[in-house]
Symmetry: C2
Subunit: 610 residues, 2 copies
């Protein structure tokens, strides 16, 4: 018996006729593209083939799915394509890579499509000898006639006047409006779209997503290493570099031209033109936004850690060097403090934490582990210095979340297996691979609960397939994932990961203490960030990064900051949600707190084998 499987992604909807009982991943092979990745070969071990069931009948989640997905995720519709079998007609959604559950939250939680900056086409009255109004006055009056009073702009920016002078000669004029200002004006060109870009400027990676402001559709996304990386891997080294002569300008120009180029690339790929981009919303940590704006970030690095600006801003994107045409708005999203920036705010807004009943824990795991706890009645937030291990930096064979990076590791048939991003030959270990590898090495007895890698004697006592993974390097023992390709964790790598996970775990402890709540009172645990989106719950709880008590409440939300920025570009509601989040947030300073220090030391040890 055959059923209909509808497959949606942001670009299209496809339909397949599928024999009952076929697994979704098998069914998807009929598509002319790789819809999901299955590095473990469909055995339910790597957890990389996630899809979302929108409606219809799939088999009940099996034991392997329950191990890799939290109960909350399963309740929200997340499934592994290799395990879920078709029992009737069904509709599934394929995730945007790295933004899985944001998309999967489904239309019920989507923000209303209502871009805060948009092009409005009007016919100003033609210039007439009897009517001596200038172009600016005639445009504003036409817009006042076309828009509700609270949406009609009251002024035209200087940068918009040259375009207006050429356009307002009697035809249709398209005005780009942001707030109460017209930022650009031009003759209406048939077929031209209004495009938006959501940007998340991470210390390590920069994400840009191109969307259609008219339909809300995604037209593509790009992730690149931050072009400032040559100036240091973390926020503090970038700040130090900004204080050298010319450093601030160099850092500013690097990120501006990188984003500008990414936008050109994205529009080219989408068969569009950069001139069609009407709105850019930018999330990023506080330092990244200072550097983008060309504002000295020095005070962020020194107590009392006071940024120059935190409030959201609407600017002309051309003034920020992001585009070269005047008709484009740039929204810098608001932040909470020096170390809880607009990226965290945008992520919380994206998942509507500010409207959630009960208590949610929100973790953005990267170089800094930013976290928040609360909901619609108030949010406590803090930041811990986890170091760059989870971004793949400071790890000997570490790498970012790019093709060829090992991002999942599991034990299969008595040995250790791994998957890579894109299924390419392994070239390093990214953050989620690091956690998975640690978990596997702990389970295999290659690393003990104090973080010590087995010595030659201990390795000899292990089953041969596992013992063979241990070797002595120059600086001590190494635990190998792939001997042929020389990919391993050194003893120092394990220590770095141990410190990082202790910082995160202690931050969670302290935040809950400050809120006077216990783990049983955490209703949801959101994992955000490029690293978080690839993390699987099993590994994270196994190494003690996350409390095992919360394993069934985890929701992986991927690059929520990028999703929030994209939403802010598409929806005034989402932009306002960011401000609402900020107003709910109270910052908890961890440095110097004795309860944090105590928790940090306790959380160094790995949990014993379960």
């Amino acid at each position: 018996m055959k059923h209909v499987l509808r497959i949606r992604d942001r670009l299209r909807v496809e339909t397949l006729d599928v024999e009952e009982g076929t697994s979704v991943s098998e069914a998807l092979r009929a598509l002319d593209r790789e819809a999901v990745e299955t590095p473990c070969g469909g055995k339910g071990l790597c957890g990389k083939c996630r899809i979302l069931l929108a409606r219809g009948e799939l088999s009940a989640p099996d034991e392997r799915e329950s191990r890799l997905l939290s109960a909350a995720e399963i309740a929200a519709g997340s499934r592994l394509a290799c395990r879920a079998r078709l029992l009737g007609n069904a509709e599934i959604e394929l995730a945007w890579r790295g933004e899985a559950s944001i998309v999967t939250a489904g239309p019920s939680s989507a923000f209303a499509l209502d871009p805060p900056a948009r092009r409005v086409a009007v016919f100003p009255t033609a210039p007439k000898l009897e009517d001596r109004s200038d172009d600016e006055a005639r445009l504003l009056s036409a817009l006042a006639g076309a828009l509700p009073p609270d949406r009609a702009p009251s002024r035209v920016a200087l940068a918009a006047l040259p375009g207006l002078a050429l356009a307002a000669r009697g035809g249709e004029v398209e005005a780009l409006i942001a707030g109460d200002e017209v930022l650009g004006a031009s003759s209406r060109r048939a077929g031209e779209r209004s495009l938006g870009v959501g940007v998340d400027i991470g210390t390590t990676t920069v994400l840009c997503r191109l969307v259609d402001l008219g339909s809300g559709e995604s037209l593509g996304a790009r992730t690149e290493l931050n072009a400032q990386r040559g100036y240091g891997a973390d926020v503090l080294s970038r700040i130090a570099a900004s204080e050298e002569g010319g450093g601030l300008e160099a850092l500013r120009d690097r990120i501006r031209s990188q984003i500008a180029r990414m936008i050109v690339d994205l529009t080219l790929d989408a068969g569009a033109s950069a001139e069609e981009v009407a709105s850019i919303a930018l999330a990023g940590n506080t330092t990244m936004l200072h550097l983008l704006a060309g504002v000295p970030p020095g005070a962020i690095a020194r107590a009392p850690f006071t940024p120059a600006f935190l409030a959201g801003r609407a600017e002309g994107a051309a003034a920020l060097g992001l585009v070269s045409h005047p008709g484009c708005a740039a929204f810098l999203l608001p932040g909470v403090s020096a170390y809880v920036g607009a990226d965290i705010v945008a992520g919380m807004a994206a998942i509507r934490l500010h409207e959630s009943p009960g208590n949610s824990l929100y973790l953005d795991l990267g170089t800094n582990g930013e976290m928040a706890f609360g909901g619609r009645d108030g949010i406590l937030c803090c930041a811990t210095a986890a170091g760059p291990a989870f971004e793949g930096a400071g790890i000997e064979k570490g790498t970012g979340g790019f093709e060829g990076a090992i991002d999942s590791v599991w034990i299969e048939e008595g040995s250790i297996r791994y998957g890579t991003i894109g299924g390419r030959p392994a070239n390093g270990i990214c953050g989620s691979g690091l956690i998975d590898a640690l978990a596997a090495f702990l389970d295999a007895g290659i690393v003990d609960e104090t973080g010590r890698v087995a010595d030659a004697d201990e390795a000899g006592a292990l089953p041969p397939a596992l013992g063979a993974l241990v070797a002595q390097g120059e600086d001590g023992p190494r635990a190998y994932l792939d001997r042929k390709r020389e990919i391993y964790l050194s003893q120092a790598d394990v220590r770095a990961a141990q410190l990082a996970k202790a910082a995160i775990a202690a931050g969670i402890d302290t935040l809950l203490l400050a809120a006077g709540r216990g783990l049983d009172e955490v209703d949801r645990l959101y994992l955000a960030g490029g690293f978080g989106s690839l993390l699987d719950v099993h590994g994270a709880t196994r190494v003690g990064l996350l409390p095992p008590e919360l394993a069934d409440r985890v929701l992986v939300v991927g690059n929520a900051a990028g999703a929030g920025a994209t939403a802010a570009c598409l929806s005034r509601q989402a932009l306002e949600a960011c401000s609402r989040v900020v107003s709910l947030c109270k910052y908890v300073e961890l440095s110097g707190r004795s309860d944090f220090n105590a928790a940090y030391i306790e959380r160094m040890i790995f949990p014993e084998r379960g």
Copy 2:
């Protein structure tokens, strides 16, 4: 018996002990500078030694003063220094060159010193670990505490953030506020002043005046030929040049860098720094302001003559390329139409035409003769194409109002004498010299009422001293002012002046017709513009440029546009006055009006000898 003569100008007050009966010009010789010019040697013939009696006793105006000054001017205190004799203690004011009667209007009519953009120094709370406010929030809150609610800014411009980040570390911060925005912020530097610049961008000349925003004092002024002149002498040729490839940018950059350099020069001369300039107010005709803003002015040249913008604008001066530091505002003053621009508006605001009872006629005589008629109940305005003759262009020996230009001509002892600007050797004839020369040639019978220059026969019939001034040139007869220096009016020059004066005179006729008023209902006639400020009433009525009926109601107000721009920089009230003027103005289009055409033809003829 000795009296005390107090002498004020914008820079100082000096005191002299003067014997009773001494003329003011003689008394002024005791000063170590040339306080007034007396090219006619103190005979009361050239009218160039005007001063203003502020208080005290001078001799009653004699017949020569009454000929060169209008009754209205005398009533306002204007006198000729060479004729007025000291009868008791007195205080006089020396005029700013070219801005005579604006200054002379005296303190009663001055605008309140209250700059629309100014630096405010506050102590924001020091950054503290407990108080996580960013610099922007702490600055805005300090300003809200220091200023009345309607003056407190609500946002900090992007360009101000870099300076703020460095300044807001615990000391005094100086914020440059314009409207509801902080445009710049820096640490307070001891001894630093807030300076302002009033600018009038004329098609031919550019005036910049530097003032102290704290005291209202003038610190100097510069007038230069507009650096765009190479692109054509009049507005229409500039517009044509702007439509060539790269022309708009070239014209924009020329005027921007010229003003920027003039500001640097002025501040250097005043022992100040360009960084101290906090506010720039710019008047200029509509085309000049379009070019400054980089806005295509093409539509100004073609019916229906619709400019891109007319409303007043507050911008960052750095964005307009006028200064390189962020903490400086630029106010573009508002205009009425394509040909009645911000210069006319600023001029009318400067003399408070919008508050005047009765009916005033306001003339700005330059390449375009702009004029307005009315007062506090409404203003009619229009523009006539007078051509560049009054700016010294299109006249064979014409020149601008610079040193060495002949600017006054009179008949003395049966021959023709002239004075030059600065008393330098004559190098050409400027606009006011052209009118004076025509008047003298008409009185001498060298030019007849149809505008024809005497031929050899007619010259032979004149007294020899006068007949010798006529000679035949290649293109017809010439009327000489100086045979040695070859300075003369050709027949073509007389025709050009005739057309120009007819356009102005016909404009006045039409404006009065449109208002339904007669000449007897004109209470005051203001003469503005560089040309107008040097014009004497005798010559202007003799050639029929001005109706003789209005001779006793003339007030020469000089570069009122420059004075208005300077006032706008110093006083919010003056800036608002510009908007008020615009709202009172109704534009009368002359082209195609049959009453204008009829008047134009009638006004070609010179009046007969009185």
